[in-house]
Symmetry: C2
Subunit: 283 residues, 2 copies
């Protein structure tokens, strides 16, 4: 892999760039980003070797598409129009159904692999990128059978070399499950932050009273609205379903408290403590 | 301070024991706990020097009451009945109004200082205790004027020596604010855990797909129901109010999504990003 194009030089794109360069010191990493200051920053931080434009990708061996999911859906078909027969294009978006649909009938569909590295942080931009981001994380690959076998192999070798484990899923199942384990966490965190900020107009009180528990629960409320709004839009139906479940559970908990049924409150928490065993698997 | 009694040798009590011993190597740390295995564990871990019973406290210089808040309210008056005039008794509970009320007219009220070190973790029991727990954390002191001045001084010297900053509040304000910045976080986390567990019957899916975002958002769902149920009971009215606010905000967010008003969704998140600045103060 010689000519690598990173489209979107943020947390994920930038971290891919760092890893690919480490694995292939001779590769030339081209950066493309619609934010000129991000591109300059990526260059200064040696995340990319050169700036490029989206029209330059015809000589690419690998293209990593790491931009907001609404733009990915528009750009991917155009990118596929411009590549050679041997180019591998991967996306890394947090929704998979719309992007798979967008290129389902594209003549170069077999050059594309739909992936979702479960490795975000609440930070964004080139400065957030780091080499270890993908270590021991899961990469979910969708519709693997739609990608040319040689290009699948190339992609999986890369993912394994940067420390990821692979899991295969269809896009529908991916979007449904990820609504629960990722998208809902973000909304719950944002709304918790909002609730507390609205109430605690005197920030001194939050500052002084909030412990690390609050900090970890609202951490995701630092996340980028530019990135998350298109995700929520694309995965609207699944997310609304998870939100309904979540709100119902909160209402039920509130009702138990209102009815002074603290035995049931205890049981709710005891049953959910089971999350300990599940989380052991994540870290 | 020679004779120290730690009632409840868990995370907070045990961490106080470790700190007091370090500051006063000649002190004798007596442990009291209704769980015999915890007491034995605290002894084995050198968190306490000796086991004791609640009736033994008459020679105490300092008593740290670190048990669930419902039991504290019952035990504190009895403890005050048995102490000498110079004994300082502090509690560390996450609710302050009920305990202050419980001893408001006790003849030994001036021997008691109501405190809340904002320093919990999701772990509990003697094994969870560690020396650095209180470093750079806030300790909220309620009704300081009800405590004898000399005993106030003694307590504050201890808190400052173990790395805490002090903040004074009345119990009503404490319980109201802490409902937002601590108790609500716990419920939001427990219900998020419940929602995901209920949906994802196949745990393999959670294990594989959940990233560190989910992990941090549900971390508090590992917390002890034995400790938290009495807190929710004592702070019921404040917590129900916070839950109503939170549920309303979630419903509003859901409505925005249902109406495809993603400009407003974006704005909700952008406004809440402000939490970044607030959180900088916490860490």
């Amino acid at each position: 892999m010689k000519n690598i194009y990173i489209i979107g030089v943020g947390l994920i794109g930038g971290s891919f760039a760092l890893n690919i360069k480490k694995l292939n010191p001779d590769a030339v990493i081209y950066g493309i980003d619609n934010k000129a200051e991000h591109l300059q920053e990526a260059l200064s931080l040696n995340i990319i070797d050169k700036k490029a434009e989206i029209e330059d990708v015809e000589n690419a061996d690998l293209i990593v598409l790491a931009i907001p999911v609404d733009t990915s859906v528009i750009e991917l078909p155009k990118i596929l129009d411009n590549i050679s027969d041997d180019t591998l294009v991967i996306d890394v978006g947090s929704t998979k159904l719309d992007i798979c649909k967008a290129v389902a009938n594209h003549p170069k569909r077999r050059n594309f692999l739909a992936t979702h590295p479960i490795s975000g942080t609440e930070f964004s931009g080139p400065k957030a990128a780091f080499l270890e981001l993908f270590q021991n994380k899961t990469n979910i690959i969708c519709e693997v059978e739609q990608t040319a076998f040689k290009l699948q192999q190339k992609a999986i070798e890369l993912f394994v070399n940067i420390g990821m484990r692979i899991r295969y899923m269809n896009p529908e199942a991916h979007d449904k499950h990820i609504a629960y384990v990722s998208h809902l966490s973000h909304i719950s965190s944002f709304m918790l932050g909002k609730t507390v900020i609205n109430k605690e107009k005197n920030e001194r009180d939050i500052f002084d009273m909030a412990g690390s528990g609050f900090e970890s629960t609202v951490r995701l409320a630092k996340s980028s609205p530019e990135m998350w709004t298109p995700i929520f839009k694309q995965n609207k139906d699944n997310i609304i379903e998870t939100l309904e479940d979540y709100i119902n559970n909160l209402n039920q908990f509130k009702n138990l408290m209102e009815n002074d049924d603290f035995d049931a409150v205890f049981k709710e928490m005891k049953d959910t403590n089971h999350i300990k065993q599940i989380l052991k698997g994540i870290q």
